[in-house]
């Protein structure tokens, strides 16, 4: 078995007095597709936000590709990571947000090109070419010079995915990417995710309420409940054969 690309080791997270995550242990393999489900407030989003360095764990360690994400060694002691260390380790991680978070003052193409040029120091020509290819892939090749506010929610989310993909991440995080969309726009976004998943190279972590979809593409489903991973396994194990009461009642709400 190959080495995991991400490891959570006894990770906890509290906001003030509220303990949102109570000791998460989790391995994610390269190219594995993990779906995270669970009631709202169960810490699903926090789980991946810590991996994207948007939220610092209260305790425990997250290892990315063999490197400790939130801590670094300094004079033989482990200290909180500084910006430089974070930026080195998170380089292989990309994220798509619930509310898209496109840059409103840039065109679609500029949105995609900016990071490869500025962060990866790719030359403009090739970044432009790759960005256009990526936008064509998500079906927006005709919108290159439009601004985000001229697009529908589904289109915006597809741009956000293209923007993350041109950075060639090894791990992609999806934070309830369809929750802010009108129902009729959900499918076009899911389709793009499905395409990405089928290409297979990237590890993907999807926090989602789209149960059917999660079961369809995920290698593994995690049921997060009350700050712990209450259930973990293949979709059929978790959904059909789990004895977990809370999971069953959670799933019933989706079936009805």
């Amino acid at each position: 078995m190959s080495k995991p690309i991400v490891t959570y080791d006894e990770v906890t997270k509290s906001f003030g007095d509220v303990e949102v995550l109570k000791g998460i242990n989790l391995d994610i393999m390269p190219s594995e597709k993990v779906a995270v489900i669970g009631p709202s407030g169960s810490g699903k989003t926090t789980l991946i936000r810590m991996l994207m360095t948007l939220e610092q764990p209260t305790d425990g360690a997250i290892i990315v590709d063999g490197e400790n994400l939130w801590q670094m060694e300094e004079k033989g002691r482990l200290v909180d990571a500084d910006e430089k260390h974070l930026s080195k380790v998170r380089g292989d991680i990309g994220m798509v947000f619930q509310h898209f978070n496109l840059f409103p003052h840039m065109t679609i193409l500029e949105n995609c090109m900016m990071a490869p040029v500025q962060v990866q120091k790719e030359d403009k020509k090739s970044a432009r070419k790759r960005s256009i290819e990526m936008l064509e892939k998500v079906g927006l090749g005709d919108k290159l010079d439009n601004f985000p506010n001229q697009l529908s929610g589904g289109q915006k989310q597809r741009v956000a995915m293209a923007r993350a993909l041109v950075m060639r991440p090894k791990i992609m995080l999806f934070d309830e990417v369809t929750s802010a969309l009108d129902p009729e726009l959900v499918e076009e976004v899911l389709e793009v995710i499905r395409d990405i998943a089928l290409e297979g190279e990237m590890a993907m972590v999807l926090v989602t309420h789209e149960m059917e979809f999660a079961l369809d593409i995920a290698d593994r489903v995690l049921f997060l409940d009350d700050g712990v991973i209450a259930e973990s396994g293949t979709p059929s194990e978790v959904i059909e054969h789990s004895q977990n009461e809370r999971l069953q009642s959670f799933l019933r709400r989706f079936r009805s």
């Binding site: 948007l54 930026s87 978070n101 840059f103 990071a115 985000p148 506010n149 923007r163 993350a164 950075m167």
Partner: protein
């Protein structure tokens, strides 16, 4: 009309220095360094909390007298007082605009692994600037009007010459002031148009 040169010089000087101050102080108030933040906060409150006329008198009379600090000329004193005063006001706009860019933008920047500087330079600041522009335009016009105060520290601007003219011939009093009014309005006109233009620019490419 005589005095126009002075009025425009003071206006130009105050605009450049004022905006410079606004950006410097605005960014300093967002600094992680407590000392820098507190110090700039002190400056902003002092200059916002006291009147511009008093500041003008301080710069041209009190400072040289009390501390022996000579600012060189009334021109420097006038420009300094106006720009520091308006710089203080506008730094609040700079600070407020930067803070009001949504947190999601910063997070998207982090997700793309931009450095903090790149996030400010390419993501936050361009959006904040669009929000600042209309307000900046308003302050531009206000600054023009504030320049008329420099006649009080004995500078020979448009208002000064107007007063001179009036005292030599009381019969034309109302005409003189009418002309001064028109003069300021004519200078303000391009600034008003500029402000409108800025508002249009700022409407483009913003979050909806």
């Amino acid at each position: 009309m005589r005095g126009m040169g002075i009025t425009l010089t003071v206006l130009g000087g105050s605009i450049i220095l004022g905006y410079l101050m606004a950006f410097i102080a605005g960014f300093c108030r967002l600094s992680n360094n407590t000392f820098i933040r507190k110090f700039t906060g002190f400056y902003v409150e002092i200059f916002r909390g006291t009147s511009l006329i008093v500041q003008l008198f301080w710069f041209s009379y009190a400072l040289p007298m009390l501390f022996g600090i000579e600012l060189g000329s009334d021109l420097v004193a006038g420009i300094l007082a106006i720009s520091l005063n308006y710089g203080a006001y506008m730094s609040e706009i700079v600070r407020g605009s930067i803070l009001s860019v949504s947190n999601g933008q910063t997070e998207a920047g982090i997700a793309l692994n931009l450095t903090p500087f790149q996030r400010m330079r390419y993501v936050i600041f361009p959006q904040a600037l669009r929000m600042m522009l209309p307000e900046f335009g308003n302050y531009l016009i206000q600054m023009l009007k504030a320049t008329s105060l420099i006649s009080l520290i004995g500078m020979t601007d448009v208002l000064y010459y107007g007063n001179l003219l009036r005292s030599s011939n009381l019969a034309i009093e109302s005409t003189v002031y009418l002309f001064i009014l028109i003069f300021f309005f004519i200078i303000a006109l391009p600034l008003i148009f500029l402000t409108r233009k800025l508002e249009e620019i700022s409407k483009k490419g913003v979050e909806t």
